[in-house]
């Protein structure tokens, strides 16, 4: 287990900070422990802290009106969440739940405001972190805006169908993401879409094509 100070040293938020400044700043950083399943944030709530995952994994997700859960991302040690509401003063855009035992470090918004005034380098780091996130989101929006990902996933499934004649590879969602040139989360969403359309059925370790013709129609020309 790393100490709070060691942890802060490795965070992109505090890159370039002197040991003395980090020491002072760490006094405003609090610890929060969560048991499996416990919520760190509820979508729509005004939670007043920026969180860093120190141990364990936090699931960020949204729930649709029908109650379906969509995982936005899994936050691993070193990653932060709830940073956007810290700066736009808006509500939490997602739910955050501990997937196992989790330890978080947090900074209350009021403390963050003070730190930003005290340490200009923190503002620069925050801009860098948020810019990095915007870049990732732009890529994701491109993927989600065009139906081509579903089309590509459909094509991958058809191409790798085990026809009992030639051996077909077993594919992970990560493999499919690499093949489709997209993120694993987008593949997961595409597979769910195809299942909702009753074109495939996801079984334990099988993806069963239930309507081959329908799946072929999803594949756009040129893919």
């Amino acid at each position: 287990m790393t100490s709070k100070l060691d942890f802060l040293k490795t965070s992109p938020f505090f890159a370039g900070f002197s040991a003395a400044n980090l020491e002072t700043l760490s006094q405003r950083v609090f610890e929060k422990r969560l048991a499996r399943g416990e919520m760190a944030l509820n979508e729509g709530a005004y939670a007043g802290a920026l969180f860093f995952v120190a141990e364990g994994v936090v699931k960020l997700f949204k729930t649709s009106i029908e109650g379906k859960e969509q995982i936005i991302s899994l936050m691993r040690p070193g990653e932060s969440f709830n940073d956007v509401p810290m700066f736009d003063r808006g509500p939490a855009p997602v739910n955050a739940q501990a997937l196992g035992a989790v330890m978080l470090y947090g900074i209350q918004r009021e403390d963050l405001d003070i730190m930003l005034k005290q340490y200009p380098e923190l503002s620069q780091n925050v801009i860098r972190v948020l810019a990095h996130r915007i870049r990732y989101l732009i890529t994701l929006v491109e993927d989600l805006s065009f139906r081509s990902v579903v089309s590509r996933v459909a094509k991958i499934l058809l191409k790798n169908l085990d026809d009992q004649v030639s051996p077909a590879p077993r594919l992970t969602q990560r493999d499919m993401a690499a093949m489709a040139g997209t993120a694993r989360e987008v593949v997961s969403r595409s597979l769910k879409y195809l299942e909702d359309e009753k074109l495939i059925e996801i079984r334990r370790h099988q993806i069963a094509i239930r309507n081959k013709k329908g799946l072929e129609q999803i594949v756009e020309p040129g893919f």
């Binding site: 499996r36 364990g56 994994v57 995982i71 899994l74 691993r76 040690p77 997937l99 196992g100 035992a101 989790v102 499934l157 790798n160 169908l161 085990d162 026809d163 077909a168 077993r170 594919l171 992970t172 969602q173 990560r174 493999d175 694993r184 997961s188 059925e201 996801i202 334990r204 370790h205 099988q206 993806i207 069963a208 094509i209 239930r210 309507n211 081959k212």
Partner: protein, 67 residues
């Protein structure tokens, strides 16, 4: 019975997958993850999604079943 595939060469024993498995299907033994889940594994893929080293995977067979 297929089980999630663990690459012992890649696994550095960080234990993130052990923590996220909702069925307690993974355990850390001698700093390497082992699958102990039996039938309880739902192939949800969280272990695969969370592994920073691509050391654990839940591959799918793609089959035709229009029955």
């Amino acid at each position: 019975m297929l089980t999630p595939q663990i690459d012992r060469e890649k696994c550095d024993g960080c234990g993130l997958c052990v923590g996220v498995c909702q069925n307690n299907g993974l355990e850390m033994r001698s700093e390497v993850v082992v699958f102990v889940g039996g039938d309880a594994c739902t192939w949800c893929g969280l272990c695969e999604a969370v592994c920073p080293l691509d050391a654990i995977s839940c591959p799918f067979d793609i089959i035709l079943d229009e029955s």
